[in-house]
């Protein structure tokens, strides 16, 4: 047990997501920092944003983002700065440019396409409707049957 305790002290010092000492005094600036952090990927983690990650690198990035904000960068400038350093991979929201347009437009385009096909299908199914309606003779026969 003693050995375990030593181990704990050695190993178990994970940094936890946003630390109290990282938080900026200006709430508006801090809110922007949180917003930006949630859109940045922790590069050494599997699939976490830096706001939630416990990794050391994520902490460094969080601090970096806050430094840029304090220095007066707007959100876009912060993102551009981070991307210039770490590459596009860090953005959790892929940029809507070049080939990524396929990704962004897939939903609306498919919806229009599928909607059109479904609309044509519905019209065609309706086309058969007249055949199902009763003819005049059938109607008379029906009235007759009901009377009997």
């Amino acid at each position: 047990m003693r050995r375990w305790l030593v181990l704990v002290l050695l190993i178990a010092t994970p940094v936890f997501a946003v630390q109290p000492d990282e938080i900026l005094d200006d709430p508006a600036l801090e809110a922007r920092a949180r917003e930006i952090s949630q859109g940045l990927r922790c590069l050494v983690c599997r699939n976490e944003n830096i706001d939630e990650s416990n990794a050391e690198l994520a902490r460094d990035l969080r601090i970096l983002v806050r430094e840029r904000l304090v220095a007066g960068d707007n959100d876009t400038e912060v993102l551009d700065f981070v991307v210039s350093r770490y590459g596009e991979y860090i953005l959790l929201t892929p940029r809507a440019d070049g080939a990524n347009l396929i990704l962004w437009l897939a939903g609306p385009v498919l919806l229009i396409g599928a909607g059109t096909i479904a609309g044509l299908f519905l019209r065609r199914r309706r086309g058969g409707e007249a055949e199902q309606a009763l003819t005049v003779e059938e109607n008379q026969r029906l009235v007759q049957l009901l009377d009997e």
């Binding site: 375990w4 936890f16 990927r41 699939n47 953005l91 080939a99 990704l103 199914r125 058969g128």
Partner: protein
């Protein structure tokens, strides 16, 4: 010895599965009844053999037999018994064996309860199901054999990943697998029907219970996984749009579409080829999911095994089954004649709209999930697609779905007059707007998320109530109530599930928009305010668990001077696995969760403490449970139990 027996029965199961794949199919083709009849005993025997195999592996885990490599890698003598048992499927090999067992179980169910199916259809279903079994048992034996022994057994094991030592996660995989694998039945029915070249109302009725069973287990499995992420992974997130989560979500979405389109096949004999396609795709997404989780091509928080060889094999399985089924579909789908005609405004077209929205939403999730792979291979761009993209691209489809749902569910079949249907619904919409306005006024920040969620939730719940009210027919309250009780269970199932969707939507919106967070350094004895609560850190202690050591805090939460909750968040360290975990302390409530996490000791003294107030958090999972209950109600409907009658009396479709 028992391990070798288990290994042996696994190989025997493969041989039996091959027999079950070949003989009934040939028999059905040639009209040889004795060959067709081989499917049923083979399905039973295959299930029993795999059951023995699974029991053998479980006994190795329970007795901590570290001469078995899998046990040595994933278990430990100090681990609580519950996790020794669930540890069987807490790893790649064991979970694959469970997958095969469930696959065989579904095959056996079809053999036992398929007595009312036409002989050739049943033979072909069993054969297709066995073909899937052959593929997976081969995969298990040749790439991921769970029964491999170690020449030099270690003294103790390496322990299960501590994150997985949790009741929520212990039972999450079996539910998910029943879901994934259950969709293989829908697939088998679709392929068998394509081979037969015949899809009718009876087929729709046969395929629906299997899809329902898979769907409701998938619902429970996903909800359990999300609940686990909420209380275990850290900060109370419940959905991360992780590739592995998406892998379970895509089959769920398609299965949801399939459930709805199969109704149209059953009641109106329309949308046949579309329904067949959905049945194929639903299982296709299960296979793709297995590939994503187990190949490691997409980085994810819960990837099992990053083994390219396994990935290639799984990709081959996916390609063969999807390629084969879709080729068959291309060749045969034209022969499927749809009968029913219906107007542009009708229940049928509402269900078509449901299918369009769900199918496109699924494709968007799919594209987002694989996009990093595509972008890197084709354009050499290394990029990420994360939660913000999915939130933006997926949510509109669900909003549209929720808006049309209450109208569609009460539209009559064939041809409907919107005006008449909408008369009671205008009131519902008005009330829903009032609820949204209320949500807008009570919140501090000016975000549209919560009011929108409140509107949709009220609209769906009132819509469900309206559905029930309409279904109960005319007359006074007493006769309405009497008729409500006598409504078919499928009607109740629909109403409960649709209401559940509303509850989940509200939970998600409220938690996204209204959660309060507080992060600070607190010394023992400190008191601080979070929202309308007062939080006091009373003590921080160190305690020893069975296979971990823990830093535990005593926290009291007060409201207006009265004690609201006493919480003990923990930070655990599992020495064998060398991993820390956070055990958040949560006070669950109907209207809010209080969520406290204890962090590290700080250099200047004190502890990092995080406190969250998560409003309506439990509504998310409660809604999912309602959806699953609705599925179960529908599954217990009389017409599925007496489905035999459907074939003899094709005209006996109950009027609805």
């Amino acid at each position: 010895m028992i391990i070798e027996l288990g290994h042996f029965t696994l190989i025997l199961a493969l041989l039996v599965a091959i027999v079950q794949m070949v003989f009934p199919m040939v028999g059905a083709h040639k009209g040889w009844r004795s060959w067709m009849a081989m499917g049923e005993p083979a399905a039973t025997v295959q299930f029993l053999l795999l059951g023995f195999s699974f029991a053998a592996l479980m006994s190795a885990f329970v007795t901590s037999d570290f001469s078995v490599k899998l046990v040595a890698d994933n278990s430990h003598t100090l681990k609580p018994m519950l996790y020794k048992v669930t540890g069987v499927w807490g790893n790649h090999e064991g979970s694959m064996l469970l997958w095969c067992l469930i696959l065989a179980f579904f095959g056996a169910l079809a053999a036992w309860f398929g007595g009312n199916l036409p002989e050739t259809l049943r033979a072909r279903v069993l054969s297709v199901q066995a073909a899937v079994g052959v593929a997976f048992i081969t995969f298990l034996i040749f790439t991921s054999n769970p029964f491999v022994r170690l020449a030099f057994p270690p003294m103790n094991g390496q322990d299960l990943n501590p994150l997985l030592q949790d009741p929520g996660l212990a039972f999450h995989p079996p539910f998910l697998y029943i879901g994934y694998v259950g969709l293989s039945m829908s697939f088998a029915f679709a392929v068998a029907a394509l081979i037969e070249g015949r899809v009718d109302a009876a087929w729709g009725r046969w395929v629906r219970p299997w899809t329902l069973l898979a769907w409701l287990n998938l619902t429970v499995g996903i909800a359990l996984g999300s609940w686990w992420a909420y209380y275990e992974l850290g900060w109370g997130g419940f959905w991360f749009w992780d590739p592995v989560e998406n892998a379970s979500f895509m089959p769920w979405l398609i299965a949801t579409a399939l459930l709805h389109s199969a109704i149209v096949v059953e009641k109106r004999e329309a949308l046949k080829s579309w329904t067949i396609l959905l049945a194929i795709l639903a299982f296709g997404f299960s296979l793709i999911g297995a590939f994503i989780v187990r190949s490691g091509v997409l980085t994810s928080v819960h990837a099992f095994a990053n083994d390219p060889e396994r990935g290639v094999y799984l990709l081959a399985i996916t390609a063969i089954f999807m390629g084969g089924a879709l080729t068959l579909y291309a060749a045969r789908a034209g022969q499927l004649q749809s009968k029913g005609v219906f107007g542009v405004v009708s229940r049928e077209s509402a269900l078509v709209a449901n299918n369009v929205l769900l199918a496109v939403a699924t494709f968007v999730v799919f594209l987002g999930t694989i996009w990093p792979l595509v972008a890197e291979m084709v354009w050499d761009r290394k990029l990420s697609v994360g939660a913000p993209f999915f939130d933006a691209a997926f949510t509109p489809f669900m909003i549209a779905l929720a808006v049309i749902l209450p109208i569609g569910s009460v539209l009559p079949w064939k041809r409907a007059a919107v005006g008449r249907v909408m008369r009671p619904l205008w009131l519902a919409m008005l009330v829903a707007f009032a609820v949204a306005a209320l949500a807008w006024t009570v919140q501090a920040e000016k975000s549209l998320i919560a009011p929108m969620g409140a509107f949709l939730a009220a609209w769906l719940l009132l819509g469900a109530a309206n559905d029930l009210w309409t279904r109960a027919g005319r007359g006074n309250i007493a006769s309405k109530l009497r008729r409500m009780v006598q409504l078919p269970r499928a009607d109740w199932g629909r109403i409960v599930s649709h209401g559940g969707l509303g509850i989940t939507i509200f939970g998600i919106a409220a938690m996204t928009a209204w959660a309060i967070e507080d992060i600070r350094v607190a010394n023992i004895g400190d008191r601080f305010e979070v929202g309308r609560y007062e939080v006091s850190l009373d003590d921080v202690r160190r305690i020893d668990g069975p296979n971990y050591i823990s830093t535990i805090a005593d926290v009291t939460v007060l409201r207006g001077g009265r004690v609201e909750a006493k919480l003990t968040p923990e930070k655990r360290f599992y020495p064998v696995a060398g991993m820390p975990t956070t055990e958040a302390a949560i006070d669950n409530g109907v209207f809010r969760d209080l969520y406290v996490v204890i962090g590290d000791p700080q250099d200047g003294g004190g502890w990092a403490v995080r406190t969250y107030v998560k409003p309506f958090a439990n509504w998310i999972w409660a809604g999912a449970i309602f959806m699953a209950i609705g599925g179960a109600l529908s599954l217990s409907d009389r017409r599925f139990r007496v489905a035999a009658g459907a074939r003899k009396l094709p005209s006996g479709v109950p009027a609805e």
